[in-house]
Amino acid sequence: MKLTDKIILRVEDLTVAFDTEAGKVRAIENVGFELEKGTFLGIVGESGCGKSVTALTIMRLLPQPAGVIEKGHILLDRTDLLELSVEKMQKVRGNQIAMIFQEPMTALNPVHKIGRQLSEVFQIHYPELNQNQVKKKSVALLQKVGIPEPEMRLADYPHQISGGMRQRVMIAMALAGQPEILIADEPTTALDVTIQAQILELLKTIQQETAMSVILITHDLAVIAETCDKVVVMYAGKIVETAPVIELFQNPKHPYTQGLLNSIPRLTTKPKTRLKIIEGMVPSLLNMPAGCCFHNRCPLAKPICQTTLPMPAHFSKNHMVKCHLYSGD
């Protein structure tokens, strides 16, 4: 199992379960995708579909001991991240894969100044630097992520700056170790639209400058359309469709993807008309239906959907769908 030159990260057949009081719950099941070098990969889905769990598993940050990786591989270069020791994994985090989180207020430490939180990253990744060099590097980083008056901001506490600025600080911290992969978990969900546009633009610029690969996790298809090259659509812990972004939006194949795209009100939709909807709601992970997980909401469901898991059907090299409509059954 080697990765080609183009692929930097490959997730294979990943299944993660949580032990809860109500029993074992599979948060993600048989999840697999590839991240190409220097591209934006989007993972989209509704709350509870397992997109954040996927990200946390890649970072090996699953809550312990509740989260159990039942099977699967996460290949980065030639190593399987799931087989690394805790110490070695610590080296990977920040240096090779970094992550930014949804809510920058809870991800930053409220009782430490921004300067101290940033320098901590440098102390861990570049222990040879002295204090002066660390400060210089911190200022340069803050400047790079577009924070005005960076020297002054180093002495601020997180609550003294706005949400957009906090997210910029988070991005700066993630960039400190010059990672090859950046995982952004709903980086703009807590922000206003005008600030969201700023942060997405910043992520795009940085990605182009550093040739980083980015995994962007979001529930917002419009954000995906604006930033990503390839998209993975998740539903109830499983991948239902993978496609290049233009193909996904122009030619969605899975009924769930089609339903999602149809249900968004757009600025061009005729006002006060009924929006198309997906009936029902996401099934509970504790009580997953047999067969295809979407069959009880699917307008095109057939008898086979209730009993058998659909196998992947390929439309082009990069367009994969798991649905009985296309598998020939």
Binding site: E46, D192, E201, V223, I224, R274, I278, M281
Partner: protein, 327 residues
């Protein structure tokens, strides 16, 4: 415009929250959450109120029904000033003005069953018999598309979308004239969002409801509204028919806001004009035009003189108003 049609009229409404500080905890400043806002809604229409967080849209909604006591201005409902009413009179008015809240997790009492929650409006406002009450509650459930067995269950047993349906059922229980919807769909998933929007539109049509729809998502607001008011830092900066606002936004802030909305179409390559900077603090708003700190067109006059909301093209569109020195 015929005066008799107007159901709700907000006139120079101000809501300034005091800031206390210092050794003796005296007032050291004010948060200008809502600053001199006027608008009116005709019966059966929907006014959409958009703006970013902290612009005062929620405060405005809450001030109208006196969940906060506004510090200035008037609110007329059917020609009567709500702000001058005694508590007793206000209580009589409450059935006519109802509210749907953003967070369906916090706005329902976790210790009451759905049956109790939905029966409460009838207990408080209408003296109906027990039997009639339970019939009405059952009818409400079917109106908002909830199963009958929901009656004896508790809020935590429901998903976010279903909880929002319960909130809507409670709001329509007494057949109100006007509903203030404060971000009713922003806490919900995409596939559920459209279900709730459809439900609201349907109810509005069936019950001839008037609506004040507060949200930050311009696409959602445009879909449900007849008119839209754009708020920035406690003030309305632009007001127009929904279609006109989207087709022909005039205020630089509205233009930037529309431009910043991501479009779910990867082929629509657009040159984005990204607005720099953050929203200033409403405790210390900039002098002059409150938008001048982020506006490209700002000149000396914007820093000193506050623009007023005025009709831009009286010949073409006598409704479209914006507050900018350069229009």
């Amino acid at each position: 415009m015929d005066q008799s049609e107007i159901l709700l009229k907000v006139d120079h409404l101000k809501m300034h929250f005091p800031i206390y500080g210092g050794i003796f905890k005296h007032q050291i400043g004010k948060v200008y959450a809502v600053d001199d806002v006027s608008f009116s809604i005709e019966a059966g229409r929907t006014l959409g109120l958009v703006g970013e967080s902290g612009c005062g849209k929620t405060t405005l909604g809450r001030s109208i029904i006196r969940l906060y006591e506004p510090t200035g201005g008037k609110v007329f409902f059917k020609g009567k000033n709500i702000l001058e009413m005694s508590r007793k009179k206000l209580l009589k008015l409450r059935p006519d003005i109802q509210m749907i809240f953003q967070d369906p997790f916090e706005s329902l009492n976790a210790r009451h069953t759905i049956g109790d929650i939905l029966a409460e409006p009838f207990i408080i406002h209408k003296h109906v018999s027990f039997l009639e009450r339970s019939q009405k509650v059952k009818k409400l459930l079917s109106q908002v598309g909830l199963p009958k067995d929901a009656l004896n269950r508790f809020p935590h047993e429901f998903s976010g979308g279903q909880r929002q349906r319960i909130g809507i059922a409670r709001a329509i229980a007494l057949k109100p004239k006007i509903i203030i919807c404060d971000e009713p769909v922003s806490a919900l998933d995409v596939s559920i969002q459209s279900q709730i929007i459809n439900l609201l539109l349907e109810l509005q049509q069936n019950m001839q409801l008037t609506c004040l729809f507060i949200a930050h998502d311009l696409a959602v607001v445009k879909h449900v509204s007849d008119h839209i008011a754009v708020m920035y830092l406690g003030k309305i900066v632009e007001y127009a028919r929904a279609e006109a606002l989207y087709q022909n936004p005039r205020h630089p802030y509205t233009q930037a806001l529309i431009n910043a909305i991501p479009v779910p179409d990867p082929c629509q390559a657009r040159k984005k004009k990204i607005l720099a900077g953050d929203v200033p603090s409403p405790a210390n708003p900039p002098t002059g035009c409150s938008f001048h700190t982020r506006c490209e067109r700002a000149t000396a006059i914007c820093k000193t003189k506050e623009p007023s909301l005025k009709i831009i093209d009286p010949d073409k569109d006598n409704l479209h108003q914006a507050a900018c020195h350069y229009l």
